[in-house]
Amino acid sequence: MSEPAAPPEPAGSPPDSTRAGPGRLLVAVYALFALSASARAGVQIATKFGHAPVAYVLSAFAGVVYILATVTLAVGSPTARRIAVVSCSVELAGVLAVGTWSLADPATFPDATVWSGYGSGYGFVPLVLPVFGLLWLRRWTKRASRRGLGS
């Protein structure tokens, strides 16, 4: 095999942005969910809103949160990181709340959202994604405060 070996990651040259290194994977998965959640919600609201209004509005909300997280993680400035922390937190709260709600009151959800059953329809990725997002962002907050940048 002729794959070029990645340079070892010395402590002196960590990823230089929230979109680099493991963040590259995170942004890719977030972009995927931003696209699928918002496109799905758009189709559902446009074609059969009355069928499951609560589920579709929640899907649309999830889509907006995913778009926000994708963009802010990809931008990676101090301000964008703060918005990303809020997005990921809202996302985690959302998947836990909607997950519980969908199990307690299935009648409100004749059609599934991304967050129904804690994201079981999507391999529970919606549940673990905000956790990884927050862990990744926490690393950046720590690094910034170590450097005394105060961001």
Binding site: S2, E3, A5, A6, A20, P22, A28, A39, R40, A46
Partner: protein
């Protein structure tokens, strides 16, 4: 409809994901063999889009036509976007992005079958 193409895409997508994750585990960057494999996946997806479009042109209609059209538009962009985003990354996380594209391609075939059962897997 013959399910050979979707089945091939599932196998190819999972194989690509496995190979890409192996590269991530071995701390390898994006490579020519990996890009070539992404190219093969892209061709397979385009063939699948062509088959479905031909079936729509022949008068077939699924219940969720809007969703199906959304899938047809989005499908060919998955490998292209992943290749771009993976190439920008100069570390082991480039192949990890490619692994996602492989898994997504496989999942898409299952979803296509759910949207329109005449698309066999």
């Amino acid at each position: 409809m013959n399910g050979a193409v979707p089945t091939t895409i599932i196998v190819a997508g999972l194989a690509l994901a496995g190979y890409a994750l192996l590269m991530t585990a071995r701390n390898r960057r994006m490579s020519v063999p990996l890009l070539a494999a992404v190219g093969v996946l892209e061709i397979l997806l385009l063939v699948q889009v062509g088959i479905i479009v031909a079936r729509l042109a022949g008068g077939g209609r699924p219940a969720g036509l809007a969703t199906l059209i959304g899938y047809l538009i989005a499908m060919p962009f998955i490998p292209v976007a992943a290749a771009f985003w993976g190439l920008v990354e100069r570390s082991r996380w480039g192949p990890a992005v490619i692994a996602v594209a492989g898994l997504v391609a496989a999942v898409l075939m299952v979803r296509l079958h759910q949207i329109w059962p005449v698309i066999h897997v």
